[in-house]
């Protein structure tokens, strides 16, 4: 035994002596630095919920909140209710680092886990785009709440993609509507000048056609300020231009470090913060915390509640936080993007429940989940029973409309220590965007050689 051990040691030493040390250093670094796939133990009687997370890298400040909220709600259902009708939920995390290629790899690695993936929430527009055809073929729904491909709202061509409760295009119209409300009506938009600051990425460019149409319709002008992803933390020139241009409002479509830098620079040039409106991915605490008092007054759109003042949080405290069963470090309590993770999981749990009501109290398949999402009708009463009134919006999905029936946004404002919701639901201009959505979906179908399915 000793001899064989020594032999092994000698072999290892010999191998090490022949391996370039630099490569060993890199391998060690990579082993510690890289994220991992954290499952492989799901059994066939568990409902597998893959979670494509980014807990590392420059987008982690938002990614951690989303991942923790998502996982904590499923854990709450397991701990408090014993699962859904006795079926336990198994969250399977895979680290994407917000990279599209790693997101696709995570999808491939997790889709056959246990009894198979129930649905995917990629938390990335890039990953969502990359998975549309694959997931449709595999009959696994993609639930991209408030991100991804806007025209996937047309369920005739995108049966497995859902983007309720609103899309980027409708969010853009709702933000413009909010500005109009502030100014005293849409007629007051004429002659106004906006700055549109966006991540120079498919996500940031997504609402540009809508803004062009809105500008033409209401007579305002807007200047585009793209922020390259590789230099999100250096925006001085952009804000110098904005200072020279003196726009009436600034609208931001940012993510990751871009948001905090923009708010910081806006504060530096004394831009009136209550005229600076981020979209719902620029609505996290990470956008404002580094700027300190300079960020007070900053506004952002949202489609769910802010803070922790909801009955659901009492259950989270009792079953998850007090028992130490929280995801991550348990430090995301009440943060905006944590609530988004919760909101996403709430919808998913109610869809699984609906699927079980139709197909039986067992583990459901992706195809059955698709039916449930497509027939989802969460009313205010349903939400109240979940203790989530104000936390997550009512939503009704149809075969034709995967965006939901009433796309709208709330506007929240940073008061120096937390976000406060300061508006009622601001409705989107769906009458303007729906034809565009259908037009884009039809163009996609023509490209892919798809026929519309019947929704009658």
């Amino acid at each position: 035994m000793t001899d064989s051990k020594e032999e092994l040691n000698m072999l290892v030493r010999r191998y090490l002596s022949k391996t370039p040390k630099a490569l060993l250093g890199m391998a060690l670094g990579a082993a510690i630095g890289a994220g991992a796939f954290t499952a492989g133990t799901a059994s066939a009687d568990e409902q597998v919920i893959p979670s494509l997370v980014y807990r590392t890298g420059p987008y982690a400040p938002g990614g951690i909140s989303l991942a923790d909220g998502f996982a904590d709600y499923f854990n709450l259902i397991n701990e408090r209710d014993g699962g859904i009708n006795g079926v336990k939920l198994k969250v399977v995390e895979c680290e994407t680092g917000y990279n599209t290629d790693r997101g696709v790899e995570c999808y491939d690695r997790t889709k056959n886990e246990g009894s198979g993936a129930t649905f995917y929430s990629p938390w990335s527009t890039g990953i969502t785009y990359a998975l549309i055809e694959k997931a449709t073929q595999d009959k696994i729904p993609i639930l991209s709440m408030g991100y991804g491909r806007t025209s996937a709202a047309d369920g005739r061509y995108f049966p497995y993609v859902f983007n309720f409760p609103s899309t980027y295009w409708n969010q853009a119209t709702a933000i413009v509507q909010y500005i109009a409300d502030q100014e005293g009506g849409v007629d007051k938009l004429k002659g106004k000048n906006f700055a549109y600051i966006y991540l120079d990425h498919p996500y940031g460019k997504e609402p540009l056609p809508t803004l062009d149409i809105l500008a033409q319709k209401f007579g305002f002008a807007f200047d585009r300020y793209p922020v390259p992803p590789a230099s999100m933390t250096e925006q001085k020139s952009i804000w110098l231009k904005i200072r020279r241009q003196r726009p009436d409002y600034a609208i931001m479509w940012g993510w990751g470090a871009m948001n905090g830098t923009a708010v910081n620079e806006a504060a530096s040039i004394k831009f009136p913060m209550d005229h600076f409106i981020g979209n719902w991915w620029a609505a996290g605490e990470d956008a404002v915390e580094a700027a300190g008092d300079g960020a007070v007054g900053y506004k952002a759109a949202n489609f769910h509640g802010a803070g922790a003042d909801y009955p659901l949080y009492q259950d989270l405290k009792k079953y998850i936080y007090d028992t130490g069963k929280f995801a991550g470090k348990g430090d995301q309590w009440g943060r905006v993007l944590y609530n988004r993770g919760l909101s996403n999981a709430i919808v998913a749990v109610e869809a699984i429940r609906a699927a079980q009501a139709k197909y039986g109290n067992r583990v459901i398949t992706g195809e059955e989940m698709q039916w449930a999402l497509e027939n989802l009708n969460m009313t205010d009463d349903d939400i109240a029973k979940l203790g989530a009134t104000g936390l997550t919006p009512a939503v009704q999905v149809t075969c034709q409309n995967h965006e939901g029936q009433n796309p709208a946004v709330l506007i929240q404002q940073w008061n120096g220590s937390e976000y406060e919701i300061i508006s009622d639901w601001v409705p989107a201009m769906s009458d303007l965007t729906r034809p565009l959505i259908e037009q884009d979906a039809e163009a996609y179908a023509a490209e892919q050689g798809l026929q519309p399915r019947s929704c009658s």
Binding site: A22, L23, M26, T56, N264, I269, G292
Partner: protein, 314 residues
Amino acid sequence: METIATLLGVDPFDLWFFVEVLVGGLMAGVMYSLVALGFVLIFKASSVFNFAQGVMVLFAALNFVGFLDMGIPVWLCFILAMGVMVLLSFVIERVVLRPLVNQPHISLFMATIGIAIFLEGFGEMLWGSSIKPLDVGIPDDVFFLGEAMIQQNDMFAAVVASVLVIALALFFHYTRIGRALRAVADDHQAALSIGIPLNHIWIIVWSVAGFVALVAGIMWGSKLGVQFSLTVLALKALPVLILGGFTSIPGAIVGGLIIGAGEKLSEIYLVDAIQSFYPSFSGAIEEWFAYILALAFLVFRPQGLFGEKIIERV
């Protein structure tokens, strides 16, 4: 200024705005220089391009803000964070550099990539990934020079960078260790033959680079919060190094100023000019324009503005 504006036939505000862009650019350049300095120090002493310098900025700042969050006084946090960087230098010398003495430079460069990946993961493991606001009392208001708005924190950074450069120049020229560092930079083997302990020198130079990283990390962290995107700052230092030369401390500063001012002026005025011909041009040229600017300089001075001109006879 009004007189000059009248003579030039432009609006005085435009002239003040030009001053604001120029000063803002120069100040941004100073911040790039703080990162570039760390690269220069290590390259001077060991001819190693330290790919990990950007991550060292993050790692030092993470330690600093981590200690600060524990309620430790700022001055002690600085000492503790510096202690971590010195310890890191010991470990790097022992584990990475010493085994690679006399190996090709590319091996050392590859090893620094490993260090960068390791430090990023290790820092994340120790302190988490969230953005940590950092307030060490650096003034963050603005003041006006005429109509030009100047950021106080930029001016503060300029003063810090100036003090740092003067201190490093004095250290390299007037101390025994500084002279030894320069001797090692010129020729490892010759330095060894006259009794300069190479290993100690490497520890010292990596510690000094760690000190520069800590200062840069605090400055950038105060501006943006300590976050993992600080590692991309290394990308901003590259054109500065190309322009200023990899071995010159004044080069890092002057290079930073030229790159900073050049990219801001081009983003504002060159983009304006292009847009007057091609209105749908979206701009965002500064990211690559910095490299074009640096490469343009190289046409005339291949060794960089202040780099050493090496003549090899064959």
